[in-house]
């Protein structure tokens, strides 16, 4: 009986908000709580509720380069939201539950690898923290993340852009019409992870029909090819027809049916700001779908009064896009990578990142080592402008978990050089996932911090 249960961690953070009237405020999950409690879902034998626990500083540092330090970017609420994902991940891997739903806030899918502040209501990427934890702790190799938020999951995409073992699929409202303005079809991953990032930008106004067309004809076939050991759903709910920020027309039934088809190991709540008209119903139906409870009677109060007509041209446009993306996926291993990304020792690109919540502008220069033996290490030079005063300059180096000897050595020498070059960087940081060690050097304080994960067998 026990391993048939769905684990849920409900952490509404009733004492945490970005600002009192911000969409990400105390009230956000209040009506969801009322709905789920009144339905008595948590008493059902199919569902087990767990308390949240805190993620550690190191769990965060394994993913993010927080500037200046992890402690300055996260509040306890962030540690709890990320910790909820970890705790359910533990229970799923140990076979104590069949799947889980981290119904938590604050959300995380806009948080990128380098964190200067809050963007898109996110500081810490809960899904990414879980992925690195599962790899380190349980040796999980292949993970798929499907992002069903109306906003492009640009943070998650950025963190795993060069990672061939993490498949990231995001369908969302077209970036030309909504924050963060990215997530187009040509964003397909770096040279070492081509087509492991797939974006399906949807025209505004599309309904469950388009939603499920994309799921049936692209998302599910790609996942079944990829054969992940663990599937995560970034369960944003702002594609709902009542959402104040998005312009899509998905319903609670659409979300539940999607959850049933995807059958993820873990769903993590992301956005969704129709706190009265969508969240209580969508959260409930996702939980019921995960637990295998009949969800056909879940209905939004105003469902009948709404029109769900789609523009046929836009639907045809989505069909063509799905066809093309599926072809890209199927040809991924025959694609001439050099033709797209160029040859040489490094692939490099320039990025501009805007932090809407905290008004920070960041310039990034990203280099990834093209290595035949491993996915290659990553070097990021970041410069962040925040108001007046001097920008913060950061050099960050990330060594993947399966890095080869040579890449490890090279990466450490970049770190050492960064520290010696006193003019250039305020902070020099290194993540060595192959040994689960994180280093951080602060030029002005002339001090180095080091954190290590638990030793094997601990």
């Amino acid at each position: 009986m026990r391993n048939k249960q769905t684990g849920v961690i409900f952490f509404p953070a009733f004492d945490w908000a970005i600002t009192p009237t911000h969409p990400e405020r105390e009230e956000r999950l209040l009506y969801t709580r009322d709905q789920i409690f009144e339905e008595g879902l948590l008493d059902m034998p199919e569902i087990a509720e767990f308390p949240p626990k805190l993620a550690t500083i190191h769990d965060i540092a394994r993913v993010h380069f927080c500037v200046p330090r992890v402690q300055s970017q996260v509040t306890e609420a962030h540690m709890i939201a990320a910790g909820a994902a970890l705790s359910l991940g533990d229970s799923i891997i140990k076979g104590e539950i069949k799947n889980g739903f981290a119904m938590v806030r604050p959300p995380g899918h806009h948080a990128m690898r380098v964190v200067h502040g809050n963007r898109g209501f996110c500081n810490i990427n809960n899904e990414a923290v879980l992925v690195e934890y599962l790899r380190r702790r349980y040796g999980i190799k292949k993970v798929a993340i499907v992002d069903s938020d109306v906003h492009h999951g640009d943070g998650t995409q950025e963190i795993f852009y060069h990672d061939p073992n993490v498949l990231f699929i995001s369908f969302h409202q077209d970036g030309r019409t909504i924050y963060p303005g990215s997530g187009f079809t040509h964003e397909l991953g770096g040279p070492g992870a081509f087509a492991r990032t797939i974006n399906i930008p949807l025209p505004p106004g599309m309904t469950d029909r388009t939603f499920h067309y994309v799921v049936d004809n692209l998302v599910l076939p790609v996942i079944s090819d990829f054969q992940p050991e663990f599937i995560i759903n970034s369960a944003g709910q702002d594609n709902h027809y009542t959402d104040p920020l998005g312009s899509m027309k998905f319903t609670a039934q659409g979300y539940a049916e999607f959850t049933r088809k995807l059958n993820p190991h873990l769903a993590v709540l992301e956005g969704g700001y129709a706190i009265e008209t969508a969240l209580p119903y969508v959260n409930m139906s996702i939980l019921m779908a995960l637990a295998g409870i009949n969800f056909s009677n879940v209905r939004e109060p105003d469902l009948a009064g709404n029109s769900f007509k789609e523009n046929p041209d836009r639907f045809a446009q989505v069909q063509r896009m799905v066809e093309e993306l599926l072809a890209v996926w199927q040809r991924r291993d025959q694609t001439d990578i050099e033709k797209i990304f160029g040859g040489g020792k490094f692939y490099q690109r320039k990025k501009y990142i805007y932090y809407d919540t905290d008004y920070i502008e960041e310039e990034q220069f990203e280099k990834v080592r093209i290595c035949g033996a491993c996915p290659g290490y990553l070097i990021i030079e970041s410069k962040a402008h925040r108001g007046y005063g001097e920008p913060a300059r950061v050099l960050a180096i990330s060594i993947p978990i399966d890095a080869c000897q040579n890449c490890q050595t090279e990466a450490y020498s970049w770190y050492d050089r960064g520290i010696q070059d006193k003019r250039q960087y305020n902070f020099v940081k290194l993540q060595d996932k192959s040994t689960d060690t994180c280093l951080s050097y602060d030029r002005d304080k002339k001090q180095e911090w080091k954190s290590e994960g638990p030793k094997p067998g601990v």
């Binding site: 961690i9 409900f10 952490f11 509404p12 953070a13 009733f14 004492d15 945490w16 009192p20 009237t21 405020r25 105390e26 009230e27 209040l30 009506y31 709580r33 009322d34 709905q35 409690f37 009144e38 339905e39 008595g40 879902l41 008493d43 509720e49 767990f50 308390p51 949240p52 626990k53 805190l54 509040t75 306890e76 609420a77 709890i80 104040p244 009265e276 209580p280 409930m284 019921m288 409870i293 009949n294 969800f295 056909s296 009677n297 879940v298 209905r299 109060p301």
Partner: protein, 562 residues
């Protein structure tokens, strides 16, 4: 002087307390005729005491528990208004159930109105099946009782001679299935319960006792016997609650302890954390269904002194059933009590027969009698200690919805293990050793339940919820819903109003004089922001009288005179 009475399935226990000391106690078998057992108990403890000296009497009873377990009540028809959500096939309560369309949302707004035709149809159906008791429960009726009241009104208009209960009056908390169960059981047990209270009052009258009479609730608080008629299910599980309070009274204040009550077939386990008995986070589970009854957390383990012990292959195993008395007392099968006898830990039974029992189990395995007995001891204590560890774990596993709640979670471990009940003494030392605790068998452990009843205090709670955007407020415990008259409303006014209702409630229950301190146990305020503008507030506050007991026995601490 206080009287505590515990009317159990087998024995009726009574104590007479005078200034925190046990003056007399008795233990008599519970007879079919309840009145006789009660009179017998009174006569034993009140020898030489005039009835006028008795200040109060508190009862605990398994009467309602047994009624429900044995299903000795008339059928109750259900009229449910669940609306959208969980599929209606889940609402299966083994009784005639009519489901009406109609829906209310979490803010108490009507989504779908009732259909008058359907209401008529449901009433006709119940009448045609000859139901005399009907429970009407709507989803979110605690936020808006309009639909329940409409159905109730139709039943009255139709002049049907039914006993009708409405969900919002029985249970104001969220959780529709639990509300259905609580309302159904309230409806089912009310008249039988009245019979019980009548015979208690007759017995008291017979002996000239005129003081206030209370009954213990599952949460360890008391309510006046007369007003308890409104909520008979609250008295379910008052038996275990009495034992726990008894232990609380018999150990030093503030201690963290495990209460182990080992009976013939089951052992009841409970926790006292820093001097306070632990309340169950979910409502009491009755007959496999959750309810809204607030209860102390009690874990029943199917292991006791009379459990059957068997040999299967080369293993000795403990079964959860009882076939008869222990072998050493003429029973058919070896039991843990026989092991206690062989190890010299009990005075009961015949030693030779106990040895024989061990021989039956261990002979073929080449084990000596004391080896078998030690093995059985290990099995019993192992089962109980792992359940205790599980209770602490699940207490730590309770959900937390706020940052500060997560941060303040602590690991607590007990200092003492307290044994009450017949077979506890034999096993206690070993259980305590396994948990690294002190074993304690308090004086009067045999009548701890009656002591618990005697020292219990009235508890009253009021939970107020106000929605200032809609201008309404409700009182959960009273099923009251009305408009806010004192606008602009705020947190302080909410607290003041809640206190006023607590006072009103105390008056209604005749408890005005011993209300004591009032504490705020919950205060939640949410700003409702729409389009970046605060439109109103949702305020949730709960106030209650301080939990606790009147006396700590034999310590000289007399809470009653404070």
């Amino acid at each position: 002087m206080y009287i505590g009475l515990d009317v159990g399935g087998t024995y009726t226990d009574a104590v007479l307390l005078e200034k925190g000391q046990v003056r007399a106690w008795s233990k008599v078998p519970t007879r079919q005729d309840l009145l006789t057992s009660l009179l017998e108990s009174f006569d034993m403890i009140m020898t030489g005491v005039h009835a006028d000296l008795i200040e109060r009497v508190v009862l605990s009873t398994t009467m309602i528990t047994n009624l429900i377990a044995e299903k000795k009540y008339d059928p109750v028809g259900l009229i449910l208004i669940p609306g959208p959500g969980l599929d209606h096939s889940h609402y299966n309560y083994n009784t005639e159930t009519c489901i009406l369309s109609g829906a209310i949302d979490y803010r108490g707004r009507e989504i779908v109105p009732l259909s008058p035709g359907e209401v008529e149809g449901a009433l006709e159906r119940m009448a045609s099946l000859n139901y005399k008791k009907v429970a009407v429960i709507g989803k979110f009726s605690s936020r808006n009782n309009k639909h329940e009241k409409e159905v109730f009104k139709r039943i009255q208009q139709a002049n049907l001679d039914w006993q009708v209960e409405m969900g919002h009056q029985v249970a104001g908390q969220l959780n529709f299935p639990r509300r259905v169960m609580s309302t159904l059981l309230t409806c089912a047990t009310r008249d039988k319960y009245q019979f019980f209270t009548d015979s208690v009052l007759a017995a008291l009258d017979n002996r000239g006792i005129k003081c206030p009479v209370y009954i213990l609730k599952a949460d360890g608080g008391t309510m006046p016997l007369k007003t308890s008629l409104a909520a008979p299910v609250e008295t379910i599980f008052s038996g275990p609650a009495a034992s726990i309070l008894g232990v609380q009274a018999l150990i030093p204040p503030g201690e963290t302890a495990v209460v182990v009550d080992i009976g013939g077939t089951t052992s009841d386990l409970a926790l006292i954390l820093s001097g306070q008995p632990l309340l169950s986070s979910k409502g009491a589970n009755i007959d496999g269904q959750m309810t809204h009854v607030r209860a102390l957390a009690v874990k029943s383990v199917p292991v006791g002194g009379d459990s059957v012990v068997e040999r299967v292959g080369r293993e000795i195993i403990l079964l959860s059933e009882r076939i008869g008395p222990p072998y050493c007392m003429g029973g058919p099968m070896p039991t843990p009590t026989d092991a206690l006898k062989v190890l010299g830990l009990t005075r009961l039974g015949d030693l030779n027969r106990a040895k024989e029992a061990m021989q039956i189990l261990g002979g073929p395995l080449g084990m000596r009698e004391w080896e078998v007995a030690a093995r059985i001891m290990m099995l019993v204590t192992g089962t109980i200690t792992s359940e205790i560890a599980g209770m602490f774990r699940s207490w730590e596993q309770e959900p937390a919805y706020r940052v500060w709640e997560v941060l303040q979670k602590k690991k607590v471990r007990p200092d003492t293990v307290v044994g009450v009940g017949g077979a506890a003494s034999g096993f206690l030392t070993q259980i305590a050793a396994a948990l690294d605790c002190y074993p304690v068998i308090p004086p009067y452990a045999r009548v701890a339940n009656a002591i618990g009843a005697a020292v219990a205090r009235p508890t009253l709670q009021v939970s107020l919820r106000a929605d200032t955007e809609q201008g309404t407020f409700s009182i959960q415990e009273e099923g009251f819903q009305g408009p806010i008259e004192d606008a602009p409303f705020n947190e302080d006014k909410a607290l003041e109003l809640a206190r006023k209702w607590l006072w009103k409630r105390a008056e209604k229950y005749g408890l005005k004089d011993n209300l004591g301190d009032v504490e705020v146990i919950r205060k939640e305020v949410f700003n409702m922001v729409r389009d970046w503008v605060t439109r109103g507030k949702l305020i949730d506050v709960s106030v209650q009288t301080k939990r606790g007991i009147l006396h700590y026995i034999g310590t000289g601490v007399d809470k009653g005179e404070k």
